[in-house]
């Protein structure tokens, strides 16, 4: 048994623990850039429109306590696009959630971008239309370095929200 070596080993252990508990530092992001976070959750329209029932049928169903709609569950994929200064940086189709693809579709993307003034345009399509977009919003913003710029979407509030 050698207490001196023991002390040394203990000290080495403490140094090992102490050092690795904070170092080496991890460089997550360049402090000069800004980050755009796009996050939205929205239910697109159904693939097939609901069957139109006659008022008599609706009545019958209501009396029996059955659902008064008859709809195919599956929803359309959500199309989302993001432009920065005219160039499309993001273009994707989000699949609706749920086993029968009848839930809302979610989009969550993070993009690194140089700080400064940019024109940001966000577009969303939730219907079966071939061209064009159901929702769109464009704004010229000043992105500060080392900060997040978030884009969210709330249909009831009118569409995209920039922050």
């Amino acid at each position: 048994m050698n207490r001196v070596v023991q002390a040394f080993l203990y000290a080495a252990f403490a140094a090992f623990v102490g050092y690795l508990s904070v170092a080496p530092a991890y460089q997550y992001a360049d402090p000069e850039i800004a980050v755009i976070k796009l996050s939205l959750s929205h239910a697109a329209e159904r693939v097939e429109a609901c069957v139109k029932l006659t008022p008599q049928q609706i009545n019958e169903r209501a009396m029996k306590g059955e659902p008064i709609n008859e709809c195919e569950r599956e929803r359309l994929p959500l199309a989302v696009e993001l432009d920065v200064d005219g160039a499309t940086v993001l273009s994707l189709a989000a699949v609706p959630s749920g086993l029968w693809k009848d839930g809302p579709a979610s989009v969550y993307e993070r993009l690194a971008i140089d700080a400064g003034v940019h024109t940001i345009t966000a577009r969303l399509r939730d219907s079966a239309r071939e061209t064009g977009w159901d929702y769109a919003y464009s704004e010229e913003v000043s992105l500060a370095p080392g900060r997040y710029f978030t884009i969210t979407f709330r249909a009831e509030n009118g569409g995209f929200e920039f922050r």
């Binding site: 048994m1 050698n2 207490r3 070596v5 023991q6 040394f8 080993l9 203990y10 000290a11 252990f13 403490a14 090992f16 623990v17 102490g18 690795l20 508990s21 904070v22 170092a23 080496p24 530092a25 991890y26 460089q27 997550y28 992001a29 360049d30 402090p31 850039i33 800004a34 980050v35 976070k37 996050s39 959750s41 959630s97 749920g98 839930g103 809302p104 979610s106 969550y108 993070r110 080392g146 900060r147 997040y148 978030t150 969210t152 922050r163």
Partner: protein, 502 residues
């Protein structure tokens, strides 16, 4: 696989040599890694309780309360906080070493799978607790962890809406999510304690308390570390700000940078694959099927010595079944018996002096009978000067030499002390050497401890008083100690010749 194990075992042996020198064989931390894990857990839990008293749950209050503890109450809560962190880190160190060591020394194979398998969820919980702990501080590091973890969890089809939305920007975080983290960080460790208890179920007299010198030493050095290098937070969390440079606790967060290199979904796959591989290790390659110990009721009266000595709890005492007046009999659980033979060494009828009829004790290993043991001992009498009883784990091939007979056992704990007496009293040898694993590191957990106690006449069956202890040499050495073992044997032979000259 064997090569990896052998290389790892060799690496451990080299690395541990300096620890054996500094701490002594009995108290080297490497024989107590699991126990140190328990010990650090208690330190973390105790400091955690204290911290919780002063911790304010809440998005804004959390950071402030931790700052208060770290700076204003630095002499108590501050030290507690640092100790809490460093003991958690130390826990990871010993647990990782523990995992590699048990693997390298082949202590998880076949019927010993239980501790290994139950250790895997334990490992997951250690990380769950550690990571949620860093979350609670709600500093920049916590912010990074929160965003990275929720984004990673979102790659699994678990949530309808991404939970990372909670951390989208400074307007989105609700207090309830925070409370969830506190819940996880408190009940996680509690559940972990249950898992720790399960982990040691098949080990009788599990080592959960490190020896006092180690306990004092590690606590002291962690407290000193806490005083010299206090743990601090990294600036309050602001979800609108992108974290740039972060001081990382690599013990718990080493996996996070991978999220920047590899897609989250892939990382989950790798993680699950890794756990799967670890889980099947006890059976890859399949362990040799050695027959379990077998009870012979004719020679058993239910004295319970085998039950007391079994290191794996594989023997249970049940009511007598053969109609004799004895109260109980031992039953061997063949799924837990590792065929170490320690029970055979404890049985009072395992004595070579008995000669009428076949030598059959109350409990025995079918493929290593003590009748064979006696035959081996007796064979070559006259030429044998020293009999060495050696365990299968040590390297004892090199001990064979003129005048030395080496008899191998699965564990030296299998040797009934009466064999030592028999060898010496009946003049089958001039000296007996028992060559086993390092103290505190028996491959079968308790074999060398029991042998020491039996030979010292402190544990039944006692070595007979008449045995001249100078003619008995107990040699406890780590693996890869061939030369030390040879030296011990040579020294023993010199001692023996000196006794004869008297």
């Amino acid at each position: 696989m064997e090569l990896i194990k052998r290389a790892l075992a060799h690496a451990f042996a080299r690395f541990e040599a300096v620890f054996e020198y500094a701490f002594g064989q009995r108290n080297t931390p490497f024989a107590w890694l699991g126990a140190l894990g328990w010990y650090f857990y208690w330190i973390v839990a105790a400091t955690g309780v204290y911290l919780y008293i002063f911790f304010d749950t809440g998005i804004t209050d959390a950071y402030a309360s931790v700052e208060y503890m770290t700076h204003d109450q630095w002499y108590a809560a501050g030290i507690m906080r640092s100790l809490h962190r460093y003991a958690s880190d130390a826990l990871v160190v010993v647990v990782v070493l523990h995992i590699f060591r048990e693997f390298a020394f082949d202590r998880l194979r076949g019927r010993r799978f239980f501790a290994w398998l139950t250790g895997l969820p334990l490992l997951a919980f250690i990380y769950l607790c550690g990571i949620s702990g860093y979350w609670l501080v709600w500093d920049q590091l916590a912010q990074y962890i929160a965003v990275a973890t929720t984004e990673w969890l979102d790659t699994l089809p678990l949530f309808g809406e991404p939970i990372a939305n909670n951390f989208l920007n400074s307007t989105t975080l609700g207090g309830r999510f925070f409370t969830l983290m506190v819940f996880i960080h408190i009940f996680g460790p509690l559940f972990m304690l249950l898992l720790m208890w399960v982990h040691i179920q098949r080990h009788s007299q599990a080592k959960v308390n490190p020896p006092r010198p180690l306990a004092i030493g590690t606590l002291a050095v962690l407290v000193i570390l806490s005083l010299v290098f206090p743990a601090v937070s990294q600036g309050p969390a602001d979800l609108d700000v992108v974290p740039a440079e972060l001081g990382f606790d690599w013990f718990y967060l080493a996996g996070y940078p991978l999220l920047d290199l590899v897609p989250g979904g892939q990382l989950w796959l790798y993680l699950f694959a890794a756990f799967l591989v670890l889980a099947v290790l006890p059976w890859i390659p399949p362990a040799e099927r050695v027959p379990a110990a077998a009870v012979n009721l004719e020679n058993c009266n239910g004295c319970t010595r085998c039950f007391d000595d079994c290191p794996f709890g594989a023997i249970n005492m049940v009511p007598r079944s053969d109609g004799r007046a004895y109260e109980s009999e031992p039953v061997v659980n063949v799924n837990q018996c590792t065929s170490c033979g320690i029970c055979v060494g404890s049985c009072p009828t395992s004595t070579p002096f008995r000669r009428s009829g076949p030598l059959q004790p109350g409990i025995e290993l079918p493929d290593r009978s003590i009748a064979d043991l006696r035959d081996e001992l007796v064979a070559g009498t006259g030429e044998t000067r020293v009999i060495v009883f050696a365990c299968d784990t040590g390297d004892t091939d090199e001990l064979e030499q003129d005048g030395v007979k080496v008899i191998r056992l699965p564990c030296v704990g299998m040797l009934p002390p009466s064999f030592v007496d028999f060898a010496l009293a009946r003049h089958h040898a001039e000296g007996v050497m028992i060559a086993g694993c390092a103290e505190g590191d028996c491959q079968h957990r308790l074999g060398n401890d029991w042998t020491i106690e039996r030979m010292a006449r402190r544990r039944d069956p006692y070595l007979r008083q008449r045995v001249d202890e100078r003619r008995l040499c107990l040699s406890w050495l780590p693996r890869d100690s061939t030369r030390r073992r040879q030296r011990a044997l040579a020294e023993f032979r010199v001692t023996l010749s000196e006794i004869d000259d008297e």
